[in-house]
Amino acid sequence: QSLKAAVHYTVGSLCQEAADAKGVKFSKPTIAAISEVTFRQ
């Protein structure tokens, strides 16, 4: 779980960076979904 939290934090930071560049926001479940898919990859 702490590995997943570390992946989740990094994914959130990368999503935030992409969102800021486009002036949009990510919902929390979307960031969690991208993190879960990344973890599985």
């Binding site: 590995l3 570390a6 992946v7 990094t10 994914v11 930071s13 990368l14 999503c15 935030q16 960076e17 992409a18 969102a19 486009k22 002036g23 949009v24 926001k25 990510f26 919902s27 479940p29 979307t30 979904a33 991208i34 898919v37 990344t38 973890f39 990859q41």
Partner: protein, 74 residues
């Protein structure tokens, strides 16, 4: 932001069946880069879908729409 090498290293060793398996520094660096590109691609495609729907918030629905093709591209 990017994935810390030690984190990716830990993820890789967690999944190896054979614990004698080693990861070279180059392979680890490539894996860090690949994961970063994967997340950036997922985020960008989901953002594009939200913008196409005139949404300024990216919901799980927009990510689900792009997910099948994203997984086939990696």
């Amino acid at each position: 932001p990017s994935f810390r090498k030690e984190l990716v290293n830990k993820l890789l060793y967690l999944h190896f069946k054979d614990d004698k398996c080693k990861v070279s520094p180059d392979a680890l660096q490539l894996m860090v880069e690949m994961l970063k590109i994967f997340v950036q691609e997922a985020a960008s495609r989901a953002i594009r879908q939200a913008q196409a729907e005139d949404q300024d918030k990216v919901d799980i629905e927009q990510f689900e729409k792009v997910l099948p093709q994203l997984l086939l591209d990696f």
